[in-house]
């Protein structure tokens, strides 16, 4: 995590050491002393300089009370080193499985903090890289939640690196932190293209290979048993109220074309642009209640409709050649 300018062998050694001490977790992370790091803050260094100055002055003036004050502040510093560390020690952090988002949206990571100690814990911050932190405090034996909203810049599985749980309480002389490394990636779907004209033309282009759907139409055709995954809009609530169970209304009418969202049909643009278009088509087809299937060089998803189908299509688009994904834009010097 902390890449220090180290020669290569040392660096590898360091990374191995770090990896061993901070294995990514799918469950809770217990912040024990091997997972906690502590260093002085800028104010800590300033304080140390002040102490040196006081010590020299005390020697120079041979002033016993100045010695007392110098030693008092020195031990105050050491005690606050211990207290700052103690403020994080034994905390248990759990991360909720994050909801997938479209690239460019903020994704929310929710952390649940708890501890079993009988001391209050103050000013515990959660911070992602250089962004402003979120602070919580915990009652004795209590719990708290904090959420971080992180911007997403590229599709695929997003495991945010560099989320830290830190504290500077009580004196601000030391910064104690632990890395929150969870093996719970958030799925970032490609940013859906909103170019409707292009979508329309693509849908028309697909018309050649459409097949007829019997489910969709305008005229009521009858009732049949409800199957899981079907839209709730078509459930006959009247029949349900009569105690006949869940039945789905079927309609017959002009056949709607179903379509294939096909990678090979798109021959221009970068990978990300093509995937972005495909994601837009998935959403458009879903909006139009039009059956669609997905064809990627690696996988084919049969034609279907519904929330589960949408998510599995978007997931395939998200992770397709993930390594070649480029960030859409940059913020800061990441």
């Amino acid at each position: 995590m902390i890449s220090v300018a180290l020669p290569r062998p040392f660096r590898q050694h360091f990374e191995r050491w770090f990896e061993k001490r901070n294995p990514p977790s799918t469950d809770a992370i217990l912040l024990h002393s091997r997972r906690l790091y502590i260093l002085p803050t800028r104010f800590g260094y300033l304080f140390a300089m002040l102490l040196m100055f006081l010590f020299l002055a005390a020697i120079n003036y041979q002033n016993s009370m100045a010695f007392v004050l110098t030693f008092m502040l020195t031990s105050l510093g050491l005690v606050s080193l211990w207290q700052t560390h103690k403020n994080l020690l034994g905390l248990r952090v759990r991360m909720q499985i994050p909801r997938p988002v479209f690239c460019g949206e903020d994704c929310e990571f929710r952390f649940e903090l708890s501890h079993e100690h009988n001391a209050r814990r103050h000013a515990i911050g959660i911070q992602y890289q250089q962004q402003p932190p979120v602070y919580v405090s915990l009652e004795p034996g209590g719990r708290a939640t904090a959420s971080l909203r992180l911007p997403t810049h590229r599709r695929g599985e997003f495991r945010p690196a560099g989320i830290t749980l830190f504290t500077r309480y009580p004196t601000g002389l030391f910064h104690c932190w632990g890395w929150l490394r969870f093996d719970l990636p958030v799925l970032v779907y490609p940013r859906p293209s909103t170019d409707t004209r292009l979508q329309q033309s693509l849908i028309e282009q697909y018309d050649g290979e459409t097949s007829t759907s019997t489910i969709e139409g305008d005229d009521f055709a009858g009732l049949r048993e409800h199957r899981e995954g079907e839209s709730l809009r078509h459930i006959s609530w009247k029949a349900y109220a009569q105690g006949k169970g869940l039945l789905t209304k079927t309609f017959q009418g002009q056949a709607r074309p179903s379509l294939w969202i096909d990678w090979s049909q798109l021959d221009h643009g970068s990978i990300d642009e093509r995937l972005s278009l495909m994601a837009g088509l998935v959403l458009a087809a879903e909006r139009e209640q039009q059956k669609y299937g997905l064809r990627l060089p690696t996988i084919t998803l049969e034609q279907s409709l519904g929330s589960a189908h949408k998510h599995s299509c978007l997931q395939e688009l998200a992770i397709f050649r993930q390594a070649e994904s480029r960030p859409e834009f940059r913020i800061g010097d990441d």
Binding site: I2, E15, N60, Q62, M65, L69, S75, W82, H122, R168
Partner: protein, 662 residues
Amino acid sequence: MATTNRNLPIRDIPFEESSRGAIFAVSFCFLFSLLPHFVNLPLWISGIVALAIGWRAVQNFGLLKPLPKWLLIPLVLAGGVGVFAEYWTIVGRDAGLALLTVMTAFKFLESRNHRDMLILVFLCYFLIATHFLYSQSIPTALLMFATLIIITATLITLNLRDDRVPLLERLHDGARLVGLSIPLMLVLFVLVPRVPGPLWGLQSEQRGGVTGLSDRMAPGLISNLIRSNEVAFRVDFTGPVPPQHQLYWRGPVMSRFNGFAWFQEPRGPLRSSDIYSTDPVVEYTVTLEPNGAEWLLPLDIPARMVKNSTMTKDFQLIGKTDVNDMLRYTMRSRLNYVIGVNESAAYLAKTLEYPKNSNPRTIELGRSLAQRYGSSEAIIDAVLRMYREQPFVYTLQPPALGNNSVDAFLFSTRRGFCEHYAGSFALLMRAAGIPSRIVAGYQGGEFNRVGNYLIVRQSDAHAWTEVWIRGRGWVRVDPTAAVSPSRIEQGLDDALGAESAGFRFANRNPIFGNLLYSWDNLKHSWNDWVLNYDQRKQHDFLQRLEIGIESWSDMVFALVVTLILIIAMFWLVVWYRERPPRPPAYEILFRRLLRKLSRRGFVKQPWEDARAFAARLPLAELPQREQIARIVDLYHHIKYGRRGASTPALSNLRSMVNTLRL
């Protein structure tokens, strides 16, 4: 996973605007740290502090705009010029404090965010240290601890990021941090090797308001000093305390008279042949309060030199620098002695000089005495008899004397204090042809029966004379003893009777006498153990402990060991107090089962229920599956069942888990 984060997170927390609570806390902190200084600071600086705090408070409510940045540099410059105009310097104790205060006030005025507030709090820590340049007394030390608690509570407030925590809790947390720091502070205080200072040149500061002996003597000078009840010095005797009438603490010696006042005569250093004595030495340690003067005060007559001091031919012990800080030294004296038998003729001639045109009646009296009595002893006796038999009064309130002050005292007012008696006596002796000089110092002292030491106050200041007699050298004659023997035998309170201001604890307050002795004893111990804890004291103390700490490196070693021990102790206490609650017995047994199974490679996943886990164990590999299922069932019954953890159920579970062989 690829992890690249080039920065430590430490530098990257942005500084927010300070909250109102934080600004009030820092204002209070600033005021409190300056509290004892308001008497030392000029009024305009106190005004600037008040103005800065007021402005910031109003600004806090949004009624005033923050100070424009460009105004700051002119303000700081003006502050510096103001301090220079006040003191004609910007370094040294008083000017340094003034400068620090003004700059802190301006920093407060321009403070905007969290960072500024933290820096201000650090400046407040620094301001505490400046108190000790003025006073190191016990009340100042107590005030330091109170201020430390307030500053630390402010620091906590700034780092809390939660204004809802009540003030009392923050103060409590501040006090807790300070309290936790005390043991470590004591260890550091005792064990950190002391370096003798100073490291760089010190400007000697004039101490205002300290009282002490002066280098001349005139009517009124000592009686002014005597009105002060301040402690001049304290003395610990190694043996028994000598009787009161032998306690003459020798200060400046004055041998030049100008008709009104007595002055010092420059003298060379002492030769060892100047003193003869077979009396046993008295050893004692003097803890001298700062008095701004150069004399160390030995018991008459000093038999040994003190480091960093010189002894003059007339037995003045003179320190290398003025006593501006508390000074502690061990001395030896002999109470019966013969000095100055071989005094030089030139000096003797000087100790006979007096202005011929003033005090004519006194000079006339002295000459006539010399004609009437042959020997020096007889002349001295006659004069002392005169003091005793004629109506001389010992009083703190002598009437004003005219030009010929000695004449006026001897022949008309006859009311005076020790300086009147000593001065008139010495002049009479000179007129009678006997060399004489004045010795100023202290006489007597109050024995503190609680701490077994002697308290000598400014009110014990005294002046007496020494006359030179052929064959006997310089002999001490105290004419005050002739007028008021009780002054020498019992002390000033008794001698003054109704005039007394009640200088001594025992006389002032018969009921609380012991309490006052205890309080003075505490101060004495404070001086001894805290304020005088220097390199030598540290060495002596550690050697006396007899734990083998002899040298500098031993001290560092002991320091490191003690620090490690303290840290270990802290960790143990914390671990004990904050250890997670012990899981119930059935959980421990169940974990034992899981450990046994995991050794065979069967690991329960966190999402698995115990029963589901037991169910998926392969029968072929684990013939004990039935027993495991029974254990799991029993575990479930104990944990979730209505009857809970009954003793037979638990012992059943224990035996089943323990007998399971995998």
